[in-house]
Amino acid sequence: MSTDRELVDAVLAKRAGAFERLVREYQGLVWHIVQRMVRQPEDARELCQETFLRVHRTLHQYRHDAALKSWIGRVAYSIALRHLEKRRIEIADIATGAEDDDVGLLDRVDDGFDLEAASADAELARHLRSAIETLPPLQRTIVTLYHLDELPLADIGAITGLAIGTIKSHLFRTRLQLRQMLESRLGAIA
């Protein structure tokens, strides 16, 4: 947090190279959020640039009440969300966020399935990557922030504006859905 403060102070004092340092520090996170939400590489690059230009214009409003990472992530998420809304793209599979609307959810997976007998990891990983690409933007972003950026649920909540329980439910259901897909894929191969 103190590093955040030093970096923000340096940018606000217009010290040479400070803003470029800030961009380098957070461009990975911003890219993951925007790319996972939007998917189109060209649009995603433009939105990343828009994110950092907005951060530059509004950094004086940052009050250090949240980690700078969450604040910048929130800006990126809002810009990507507005982009999808303009194009009338659904950002979430509504059912995935509601925890208890499907009691039989676990019935579709088989704990006795022999994964290694069915196929090689590389092929499975390829199918998993395709399945991840087909997830709705919100679910794709949440699982990326949790698994790739290793953010705690609270930080993901700060970025997306969703309650921790909702994020947990999205994560749980998305991973379960991927497991079901994996098993149905393996069942077809075996």
Binding site: H32, R179, L182
Partner: protein, 156 residues
């Protein structure tokens, strides 16, 4: 991992969540896979796939390029900045200009004759005064005074 979060309402779902989290932890700590059951192995594969970075990436000079752009935006005078940035603002401005134009047209059509008559009579009255040399001298004084007012600020 996230033990402090509220458990899922359905106990079977919470157990499944715990299995997912154990697999994430095992994957992050590179724990040996020998003792894993089928469910854990599947979730470890899923955790591995989910932690892969996207294939596309930002250009290498992205940070430098954005920093240059931010600096250029900062140096741009306010008069050069786009005053109406959103499409809604631009459309609203166009609509207001159109309404203003229509209103001017309506006024000219409804009161045009009367206005032209009034302007004509004013011109005739001014031309009558113009023949008086004292009035010409007064006009010249007023013009000189106004010209002086305009010129003065430029000296500062």
């Amino acid at each position: 991992m996230n033990d402090t979060t509220k458990p899922l309402a359905n106990p079977a779902h919470e157990r499944e969540w715990q299995a997912q989290e154990r697999a994430v932890h095992a994957e992050r700590t590179h724990a040996a896979a020998n003792a894993d059951d089928a469910r854990s192995r599947e979730y470890r594969l899923i955790a591995r796939a989910l932690s892969e970075a996207p294939v596309d990436a930002l250009p290498e000079d992205f940070a430098a390029s954005v920093a240059r752009q931010a600096l250029a935006d900062q140096r741009m005078p306010a008069s050069d900045a786009e005053p109406f940035t959103s499409p809604f603002e631009r459309q609203l401005l166009q609509l207001l200009v159109a309404v203003f134009g229509v209103a001017i047209g309506a006024v000219v059509v409804s009161m045009g004759g009367e206005t032209l008559q009034s302007i004509g009579s004013s011109v005739r009255a001014i031309s009558a005064y113009a023949h008086n040399p004292w009035m010409l001298a007064l006009a010249a004084c007023l013009a000189l005074s106004a010209g002086g007012q305009l010129w003065r600020p430029r000296q500062r």
